[in-house]
């Protein structure tokens, strides 16, 4: 019964979306207040309906209702509860319901907290949200219905892919979707602004928190995915420039650009058309990401689905959304009045450079990801583009961006004094040589990696320098600095944190990619191997029984010189229901490096294939990502962002009397 109710709720939600997408538009054009308010009711109704459908599906999973096809395909009665719940979104159909749920959450948030938006703008934004919801609800209901039944029900499910029975990966899709769908808010605002014909500071101040929240979640989702690949897949790598990874990275790049250009719109009323275009492109890339992952079009390490019919539907959705919005942009953007002038060396100029470089970087990733597709369409050749391509194209574009990032926060609006900026960065200028010398001493090369580490150091100290200058650190008494720090807008702290976090992450990425050490060999119990100063002693392998798997668990004792460091227990598991093996790496982190061990197959005569990695500075990647997210979160708490539109203070006699 419950799945049927869930199904019905989804159908109702589609109807509501259709109404919410049409009536408020007419109302906004005619100034009809009641019809505009319908948008708010519609958004809330959608949330309730889609929420109900989502929880109906979750109920089916938690009670292991095997009359529902989706549950049969993706669950099993022996699965732990957390993964039964995660199984709701660990498959195509369920993840679409999650997508629409998050879409309706954001829509409802605008309905509830958008009180001080101009009513016409709010109505139009919610209407555009409803259009997106219509498209995806239709897709779900017509091609990916999670509530299909099967009679008679099988005795048990076919279980979730053991690779996905993992806490990191359980939260990876929700976080990613919060990011992707969060950018739909920026998109809706952009389309609404285009239709309205007006982009102003209030609009930018409204778009920023949503974009910032979406960006935080997307950063978290990407980092979680990379971290999961790192510890689960057993290859010691965390990023493979795989199409599925790239399609999550591209919206991140454009979203970062959007965040920064929205600042210019808010502060200087300039770059309006460009910001609108960025909002459209960011969400379009999120949609393209959905298409690529679900259509089976590109061969990838972790492709989601292999179904052309669904792919065609999404392609249609993409064409209508992206084509329509770009058309609207071409038609209406000239109506947006351009804003203030600025000199090339200025904060606006710096932010424009940021945008340019990020966009070009995104374009290189886009090319590398989709080129195989185009080539196959044209001459049937099947190709793949691997990491060397991205190292040669993406990295050289990002390098100048990192270099400029340290100076950016120092630049003033309209016109900046570059020599003065460099003067304030004196301390930061000492950082790259120090880092380069350290890297050369410890590692000796390669040249590009050493330079990259120098750049990361430059950015890190530069970001901190800016903060130090603002609170007059070391130039005024501590109490004064603390007072200044307290009264700084939160967004300033957020910026420092985010930029510093990026620097840490880049240092980690460079070191991990350049100075990784690996040992692959057959080992017998009692043997030892040395790697990067650590000694790994192979103690042996035991058979262990888990809840739904059997495992060969190896034990390694790791020492450094005489000092005991860790005992590592990598496993090779066999999940019984699916007869699927997985590798569970054992990782010990020293904060500066990861000691990574993997056990392979037995060779039949007492030896085991063993793989040991020494991964320098990998923990810094995760730490850097966390600090970036923290920076974004801190920025979100900035009081200025809570005020939607500037409220004119009306001085009334009664008010004055009360105040006095």
């Amino acid at each position: 019964m419950i799945p049927e109710l869930g199904h019905f709720a989804l159908i109702l939600a589609l109807v509501v979306a259709l109404v919410q997408g049409s009536v408020p538009f007419v109302g906004a054009a005619r100034g009809h207040r009641g019809w505009m308010e319908l948008a708010r009711t519609g958004a809330l109704a959608q949330l309730i309906l889609v929420g109900f459908a989502f929880f109906a599906l979750m109920y089916a999973y938690v009670t292991s209702d095997f009359t529902v096809v989706n549950v049969v395909a993706n669950s099993h009665s022996a699965k732990p509860l957390l993964y039964k719940i995660a199984g709701v979104w660990g498959n195509h159909e369920g993840s679409m319901v999650l997508w629409v749920l998050i879409l309706s959450v954001f829509g409802a948030a605008v309905a509830l907290f958008g009180g001080n938006l101009p009513p016409t703008l709010r109505a139009r934004v919610l209407a555009v949200q409803a259009w997106i919801a219509t498209g995806f609800l239709a897709f779900t209901l017509f091609t990916s219905n999670p509530f299909l039944r099967v009679f008679p029900p099988p005795s048990d499910g076919r279980s979730l892919n053991p690779l996905l029975q993992d806490p990191g990966l359980a939260f990876h899709p929700p976080m990613l979707y919060m990011g992707y769908v969060g950018f739909s808010m920026a998109f809706s605002f952009a389309i609404a602004a285009l239709i309205e014909g007006r982009v102003d500071a209030a609009w930018a101040r409204w778009v920023r928190p949503w974009t910032l929240a979406a960006w935080c979640f997307l950063t978290g989702g990407i980092a979680l995915g990379a971290w999961w690949a790192y510890y689960e897949l057993g290859w010691g790598g965390w990023w493979f420039w795989d199409p599925v990874e790239n399609v999550s990275f591209m919206p991140w790049l454009m979203g970062t650009a959007l965040l920064h250009s929205a600042i210019v719109v808010e502060k200087r009323d300039a770059l309006k058309a460009w910001t609108i275009l960025l909002a459209i492109l960011t969400f379009s890339l999120s949609l393209i990401g959905t298409f690529v992952v679900r259509s089976g079009l590109l061969s990838s390490v972790h492709a989601f689905a292999n179904d052309p019919e669904r792919g065609l539907f999404i392609l249609l959705l993409l064409c209508i959304t992206i084509g329509g919005s770009l058309l609207l942009f071409a038609w209406r953007a000239p109506a947006l009045k351009s804003g203030g002038l600025f000199a090339p060396v200025s904060r606006e100029g710096g932010l424009m450079l940021n945008n340019l470089l990020l966009t070009v970087a995104c374009a290189t990733v886009f090319l590398g990801t989709l080129y195989p597709l185009f080539l196959e369409a044209f001459n049937g050749a099947k190709v793949s583009v691997g990491p060397p391509f991205y190292n040669k194209t993406f990295v050289p574009v990002m390098a100048p961006l990192i270099a400029a990032m340290a100076t950016g926060p120092f630049l003033t609006w309209k016109r900046a004094d570059l020599s003065g900026v460099i003067g304030r960065l004196k301390v930061a200028l000492a950082a790259p040589p120090a880092a380069v010398i350290l890297a050369l001493y410890r590692q000796g090369g390669p040249v590009l990696s050493v330079i990259a580490v120098g750049l990361a150091a430059w950015l890190f100290v530069g970001a901190l320098s800016e903060w130090a200058v603002r609170v007059k650190l070391f130039r005024a008494p501590i109490a004064e600095s603390v007072r200044r720090a307290r009264s700084l807008p939160r967004a300033a702290h957020g910026m420092t944190l985010a930029h510093a976090g990026l620097a840490i992450a880049i240092a980690g990425m460079t070191a991990a990619a350049s100075w990784k050490a690996e040992e692959v060999r057959i080992m017998h119990p009692g043997e030892s191997v040395d790697l990067a100063g650590y000694t790994y002693r192979f103690e042996g392998v035991n058979s262990v029984l888990g809840p739904n798997y059997t495992s060969d668990m190896a034990t390694f004792t790791v020492t450094r010189g005489r000092r005991f460091v860790a005992r590592l227990t990598p496993e090779k598991r066999l999940y019984t229901v699916q007869n699927m093996p997985t590798t569970e790496a054992a990782i010990h982190t020293t904060g500066l490096a990861d000691l990574y061990t993997v056990i392979g197959d037995a060779d039949g005569s007492g030896g085991w294939t063993v793989r040991i990695f020494h991964e320098p500075m990998v923990p810094w990647i995760w730490a850097g990502a966390l600090i970036m997210i923290l920076g974004g979160a801190v920025s979100l708490t900035d009081r200025r962002l809570r005020i939607g539109a500037p409220v004119r203070q009306r001085k009334s006699p009664a008010g004055a009397a009360v105040r006095a």
């Binding site: 195509h92 892919n161 690779l163 057993g234 089976g296 079009l297 061969s299 390490v301 972790h302 492709a303 689905a305 292999n306 179904d307 351009s338 002038l341 600025f342 090339p344 424009m352 340019l356 470089l357 070009v360 970087a361 374009a363 290189t364 090319l367 590398g368 080129y371 080539l375 050749a381 099947k382 190709v383 793949s384 583009v385 691997g386 060397p388 391509f389 040669k392 194209t393 050289p396 574009v397 692959v520 060999r521 057959i522 090779k572 699916q578 699927m580 093996p581 997985t582 590798t583 993997v598 392979g600 197959d601 060779d603 039949g604 030896g607 294939t609 793989r611």
Partner: protein, 148 residues
């Protein structure tokens, strides 16, 4: 400067950057495109260049060498088969009869020396390239394995 001139400079800067990126991309693409070959058309592959070879792992062909780490097996599209050697730990889903894609170079003696062996994350999933290779060799046996 006037608005128009500023806009002109911005556009020029953007195009310069884009042009530079395109140059980088084209240069990088030349060397880094890995073409995919099935066993049937492997003889058209350029020797010495990194390529991808995919198909099914031939039943009964997996053998471990004496040093324990090197593995030899044959990849087949059910019409022709190619010997492959690989040194390292094989991925979890590598199994005889399952589809696999390898990256490496074709050796002078006709053996494919694999640097990487990629087996997919799900036993029901078959990479589209392998599906096409099987179709070409006339041995494709229906859509069960390809659908999710």
């Amino acid at each position: 400067m006037t608005r128009k001139r500023r806009r002109l400079y911005m556009v020029l800067a953007g195009m310069l950057l884009l042009g530079g990126a395109v140059a980088l991309v084209l240069a990088a693409l030349e060397e880094n495109l890995n073409y995919f070959y099935s066993p049937a058309d492997l003889n058209t592959a350029p020797p010495g260049r990194p390529i991808r070879l995919g198909g099914l792992v031939e039943e009964g062909s997996v053998q471990r060498k004496d040093d324990g780490l090197t593995v030899t097996f044959r990849i087949t599209d059910l019409a022709e088969s190619v010997p492959v050697t690989y040194k390292g730990i094989l991925p979890d889903l590598f199994r005889e009869g399952q589809s696999v894609i390898t990256e490496g170079t074709l050796g002078p003696d006709g053996t494919f020396v694999a640097r990487e062996v990629l087996a997919k994350h799900d036993e029901n999933y078959m990479p589209p390239e392998v599906v096409d290779a099987l179709k070409k060799s006339g041995q494709w046996r229906g859509g069960g394995a390809a659908a999710q």
